[in-house]
């Protein structure tokens, strides 16, 4: 699918996510799909927001704004439409007029016609649509292959960081699958690239702390 305004640079993303995306950013006028709403969606918003863009979140009343703010989202430049209702395509199109990046979880499955119209709206503008759900025409799809939280023990500790393997593929430039290990979030609440030698998945199933590791892994 041709993407409009090739001259404009893409929207920036957090540096840790750059390697996952073609050209290291979000191409304007494109659609990204993440299978399920979660921190990964918010992390994708954070980069553009920190750069001065406005973000819209539609149809996700449970979005954890505080976690997003920890990842770098500027809450002053965020619009929330928790319940867009059946008119969600119009709401998303209106938001795309004002915001650079709109995250939407469609309340119903988007028909091909709705998708085409929204994609046409996108190509006219400068925005990027981030869909938490299914979107067959998406240029880039992101998913979390595996993940594990660290810091919890049996009755002690607290959640500190999450190590996740994120895979991206899609169409055109993005067709090649890229996989990265990320701390999402890291202990300081931000996103960081995880050193493969450091990931808690290499531990034996018993979860004994290794010599270089202070944290204990949980999860199976």
């Amino acid at each position: 699918m041709p993407v409009a305004s090739p001259g404009l640079p893409g929207l920036p993303v957090l540096s840790a996510l750059r390697e996952l995306l073609p050209r290291g950013g979000l191409a304007r006028g494109s659609v990204l799909a993440v299978a399920e709403f979660g921190l990964l969606c918010l992390a994708l918003l954070a980069g553009a927001s920190a750069d001065g863009g406005w973000c819209g979140i539609a149809g996700i009343p449970e979005a954890g704004v505080l976690a997003a703010a920890g990842l770098g989202l500027d809450t002053g430049r965020t619009l929330l439409v928790p319940e867009p209702g059946p008119a969600w395509p119009q709401v998303v199109a209106s938001l795309l007029d004002g915001c650079e990046l709109v995250l939407v979880r469609p309340p119903a499955r988007a028909s091909a016609q709705v998708r085409q119209r929204l994609e046409a709206t996108l190509r006219r503008g400068r925005g990027v649509l981030l869909v938490a759900g299914d979107w067959p025409g998406a240029q880039v799809r992101l998913r979390v292959v595996t993940r594990r939280w660290t810091g919890l023990g049996d009755g002690h500790g607290r959640l500190r960081a999450c190590c996740a393997e994120v895979a991206a593929d899609g169409r055109g430039e993005a067709a090649m699958t890229r996989t990265r290990w990320l701390w999402l979030p890291a202990e300081d609440g931000r996103v960081a690239v995880a050193d493969p030698a450091d990931v808690p998945f290499d531990l034996p199933a018993g979860g004994q702390p290794g010599p270089g590791r202070a944290l204990r892994a949980v999860g199976g």
Binding site: A63, L80, Q90, G98, C99, Q113, T179, V218
Partner: protein, 611 residues
Amino acid sequence: MSPRGFGADQPTRIMVVSCPELRGAEQGRETARRHERVIAVVTGFCPNVEVVEPGMCAFGARGPARYFGGEAALAARIVAAVAGLGIQVRIGVADGLFAALLAAGAAAAAGGGDPVRVIPPGGTAGFLAAQPVSDLAGQVLAGQDLTALLKRLGLGTLGDFAALPSADVVSRFGDAGERAHRLARGLDSRPLATRPPSADLSVAQEFDPPEPRAEPVAFAAKALAGRLHAGLAAHGLTCVRVRVLAVWADGRESSRLWRHDGLLSAAAVADRVRWQLDGWRPAANNDADDDQHAEGGVAALRLAPDQVARATGEQLALWGETIVSDQVARAAMRVQAMLGHQAVLRPVPSGGRNVHDQVTLVPFGEKREARLAADRPWPGRVMGAAPGVVYQVVREADVTDDAGQAVTVSGRCAVSAAPARLAVRGEPPRRVTGWAGPWPLSERWWDPAAARRRARFQLATDDGRAWLAVVQDGRWLVEAGYWLGGLGEPGGSLAGAEAPDVLGDGVRRGAGIRRGARPASAARRYRCRRAAVGRTALPFLVQLPRRGGHPRRARRRGGSARPGDARSHRSRRDVRDPAVRAGRGEAGRPGRAAAHGVRRRTESRLAARAG
């Protein structure tokens, strides 16, 4: 504090107008209406009137009395004017409000005779001295007790009470006693709080015959807004919000408050009226094809200022405040026009101990203020990573131990057993692989109605998720979730090998990925499966706003709403007015210049419509 209290030369002359029949009456709508008419008549003599209580009002008598030729003459005129309404009044004039109230009461008690009782200047102390102390009952806090006590002490009249040294009164009867003593001596405790009559600043226009199209109504709204602004400016006022009320021919009403803050031009108000009408229509007649609709059009339009305040001018923030650009504001307000004012929210990080409290959601256009201050320590809040998913309504859950018994937390915060299974209501159970807690939290223990005792837990489950759960009143509630999203199939259905398998071979599945260290193989499997996702086209009529504005307007201009003509290689037709194109070009930067451009565009479009 009366001027006399500070040794001023002239005591304050107060006139009290009392309507005995309205005071005792039931406070129904009819009484209120008659009372309001009496106040209106009295306002005709003196504009600044304080309503003391239902059926009784007071005002400073000096100025009006001089104008009307004396207090007695003024009182006679008021009595005659109110008698025209069929209501009898009693009037008392004295130095100070308390004495005037008693004088009006004395005039009423006289009955049949003169309805006016004027205590001459300087005679107030003598008049008060003869009154019984029970008159103080309604004037001060716990007055009943005080007057009963004074009577038992042998002080029958206000004169007896006033003769006591005030220092002794204060030491014996405290603050309320001192206030009563001041009243008994003829010193008012406070000046009269009069208010000028509130002018009706709302403006309205009726449409006869009812106007079925939005554009003429919006055009009329522009003229109405001009009148509204002129009326506000004449009073030196501004309004925080403006209420737009549209009455349809069949009697239904559409009323909505729009943020104004004195910043909106007449054209901007007209824009909001049009959005409101547009937003109202689709819900009213979804199947009708065009502007002509069943309810027969708008019969009346009213703009009323809400929260009127003194206009103090506006100073834009130099820095520190996020400037909302015109484009964003327009987008947000268009969504508000579709879904309502509360539908578009801006988050404000706040304080608080619960994850719900830590973000305040403020409707777009209102002041961004945190409900709970964020810079306080808030002991007991959840530390560490913030959850990415905060449920608006807590979800019930069951947490059981290895034996299948529900896990409980005792009053001393001891856990009955280690949690082994978490079953969120409506979802299959998950195995708990790590947990921490309980972290006790006792909130508002001093308020029995709002007191809550809870114990928090963080639970990690075998599908890689983590949860924030609380135990309250023996029930487990899940408040928030920590996860990343996007695990498994992007098709929405989590079926297949990637699905979170429940309580079964989660370890083995994880082990496969762990040991293999070949993420590409997982991705390949995923790609193959994705090819099978079919595309279905469901008939669903959608109108999307085009860049040129609302689709309805775009179509009227001859543009097509089909998506086909929006292909990227075709140059877009500029549907804006030439003035705007020039304005955009010369402005070249966002901000105030852009705001003028928008305004000009709307105005010129409206003018073109009218022509």
